[in-house]
């Protein structure tokens, strides 16, 4: 789960990282008020969960409350990479003397956290990694030891930070690591961490990604999810415990297991060519119950692009008879003429197939192999089955 910049910075502040004293506005009038209270020059920043806000015109300086109001009026409601801007952050403008990068993330290969610093602040770390890898300094962290002071000093000296800033930098690095662990984050990033003309270090922009699997023990962070930025289907799927990603093809896919779900998508694309492909990723998960499958089917069919549905169930944890009953229950609740191809295999597959066949539903087609199932679903999507 991604946090907005203003949410990330609020979180940073809680752990003692200096951040600008700005606030969030949802209307131009609020932007005016905040800018007036702050006084001086402010920066108006669109709060959307995508990168590249600046290039899209979502970040602008305002020299008066009137100008802040006018700019907020332009930015609020603006669309950036498909997302509508509903909030702007009004921050006091900083007197920037230098910019650095500081971030903590999980290093998958090492199996431990890594803290990274770079002298190239304000540039995306992936871009620095590609173009100027020597500018990035990394320290792996033992989760039982936490970030040690010497490691923070290694980073500071590694990016040639002037010595007078080491102490402040070390405090911020420690706070960022604490914030990352306490928040169950997979990423906590300050970019840029600014050195002001007055010699202060301040987190001008921030980003946090929270581990979805840890939200059960992070109720305060779970509350911060921006549901306005999500599709209705995504919210429904999450509530039902389904893993769902909407795509732009025509074949609705309902599969158990993420790897097989991806493979099923790949097969519809392989046999569908340029014209036909997957409408979604959907994993009904292990131990799927009939009502879960019914919800999954409703979500798939709510997409108007869907021309056929492919069920691909290989039973391990999930028992195929449960799935078959779920499909029939869903069909009785959501009558549809959309052609469906069903493939069941694995635990209780025979019972599952019998349940489906005994129902005698005209738009249900069965398949034995994945290849056959994908080809039939493609044919059905093209109106040729």
């Amino acid at each position: 789960m991604n946090l907005h910049e203003y949410q990330s910075k609020m979180r940073f502040a809680k752990f003692g990282i200096p951040v600008p004293m700005g606030r969030v506005a949802t209307t131009p009038q609020e932007a005016y008020e905040i800018a007036r209270e702050l006084g001086g020059t402010v920066v108006v920043k669109a709060q959307v969960l995508v990168g590249g806000r600046g290039k899209a015109g979502g970040v602008k300086l305002a020299h008066s409350p009137e100008e802040a109001e006018q700019i907020a009026n332009q930015i609020l409601g603006m669309e950036i990479k498909g997302l509508i801007v509903r909030r702007v952050l009004i921050d006091p403008a900083a007197n920037i003397a230098g910019e650095i990068y500081l971030g903590v993330t999980n290093d998958r290969a090492a199996g431990k956290p890594v803290i990274m610093a770079s002298s190239e602040g304000g540039v995306e770390i992936e871009q620095v990694a590609r173009e100027k890898p020597e500018a990035i300094v990394r320290e792996h962290i033992d989760p039982f030891l936490g970030l040690r002071d010497y490691q923070a000093r290694n980073l500071a000296s590694g990016i040639n930070l002037p010595r007078e800033h080491w102490k402040a930098f070390s405090r911020i690095a420690t706070a960022l690591y604490n914030c990352y662990t306490a928040s169950d984050a997979t990423l906590a990033e300050i970019n840029p961490l600014v050195i002001t003309a007055e010699g202060q270090l301040i987190a001008l922009d921030g980003k946090m990604v929270i581990d979805d699997n840890a939200l059960f023990r992070q109720p305060e962070l779970a509350e911060m999810r921006d549901v306005e930025a999500e599709a209705k289907e995504t919210i429904q799927a999450r509530a039902a415990g389904l893993s769902y990603v909407k795509l732009d093809g025509q074949i609705g896919c309902m599969v158990n297991g993420a790897g097989l779900a991806m493979t099923t998508m790949d097969m519809t694309k392989l046999y569908g060519g340029d014209d036909v492909g997957p409408a979604n990723f959907l994993d009904i998960g292990g131990g799927a119950q009939a009502d879960k499958v019914a919800t999954a089917l409703r979500i798939i069919l709510s997409d108007p692009n869907v021309k056929s549905v492919l069920f691909n169930i290989f039973g391990g944890i999930t028992r195929c008879d449960e799935v078959a009953r779920g499909i029939l229950q869903a069909l009785s609740e959501v009558p549809t003429t959309v052609p469906m191809v069903i493939r069941l295999n694995g635990t209780n597959a025979k019972e599952g197939r019998e349940i489906i066949e005994n129902a005698r539903i005209p738009n249900l087609h069965s398949a034995e192999t994945l290849t056959e199932a994908a080809q039939k679903a493609v044919a059905a999507a093209k109106g040729a089955l």
Partner: protein, 285 residues
């Protein structure tokens, strides 16, 4: 021979009285796996499926001489179950649980480095050595004994491939699901090395997916050290960047971890890559 599990496996089940734990224990026993007992805190002294239940892993190991354990414990408590198994010095720990917080797994991973245990998973279907032991949730009847080693990040996709192999008359030495989480106990490289050294394994199937660099590292290992032929499949060619595809680890980030780069690296290492998992048996012939 096979690898990791066989007829000498003495298996403990952590979470044996739970819904999934008891269902799959029954399946494992039916397959012929030697389950020697189970652990459910607070239920020590009870019996389930004819097996004794213990309160702690330590007491279970003392009483049963278990040499492997399988964990079907809810994600919120799984890290504790893992630490308990590591502290009991069980050589092989298999964790089926999906959804363990990554920060928990980083601690488990660090703890494992100085332990006597090997962890398979989490978020995995476990292992199967046909006709000897089924440790996990793979449907047993899809496999048959033979000389193909199968290693995969996925669950059901593994069954797909194993089933296709069996249909084609190609039996398996051992089938292993290493798990779809970003941090797992045993990597592709670890398993490839075991298959390379196992006299019963003659060919290997590797099933990967988008996200991370494990397949790239596997390609490197295969190029340098593998003498046995390897066929493979990588899931997620049609997956968009920046979106997590079900598995916590299945995400292309910053242009890295794509199916295309993994396929390229594996092909360059001499691995035969299938477009469709059902083609794998043909690629092994």
């Amino acid at each position: 021979m096979a690898i990791l599990v066989d007829k000498n496996t003495r298996l403990l089940v952590q979470g044996i009285t739970g819904r999934e734990g008891s269902f799959h224990s029954e399946q494992m026993i039916a397959y012929g796996t030697n389950i020697v007992g189970g652990v459910t805190p607070g239920k020590g002294g009870e019996w389930i499926l004819g097996k004794p239940v213990f309160d702690t892993v330590k007491s279970a190991v003392e009483a049963t001489e278990a040499n492997a354990t399988i964990i079907y414990v809810n994600a919120a408590f799984a890290a504790d179950a893992l630490f308990e198994a590591i502290d009991a010095e069980i050589p092989l720990i298999v964790c089926i649980t999906e959804g363990i917080p990554v920060q928990d797994m980083m601690k488990v991973y660090a703890y494992l480095q100085h332990s006597k245990s090997r962890l398979i998973g989490p978020n995995c279907p476990g292992l199967l050595t046909p006709n000897q032991a089924k440790v996990g949730i793979m449907p047993g009847y899809i496999a048959k004994p033979g000389n193909v080693g199968v290693v995969s990040k996925s669950g059901t996709l593994t069954y797909e491939v194993v089933y296709a192999l069996t249909q084609a008359g190609l039996g398996q030495s051992t089938c292993i699901g290493i798990g779809g989480d970003p941090i797992i106990g045993t990597s592709f490289v670890d398993v490839l090395q075991m298959f390379e050294e196992d006299p019963e394994t003659e060919k290997v199937v590797l099933i990967g997916e988008i996200g991370g660099r494990a397949e790239i590292e596997a390609a490197e290992y295969i190029r340098k050290h593998m003498t046995k032929p390897v066929a493979g499949f990588i899931a997620g060619r049609s997956a968009p960047e920046g979106t997590r595809m079900g598995h916590a680890g299945a995400i292309v980030e910053g242009g890295e971890g794509t199916a295309a780069e993994k396929i390229e690296a594996l092909r360059a290492a001499g691995v035969r890559i299938a477009d469709n998992p059902e083609q794998i048996p043909d690629l092994l012939r």
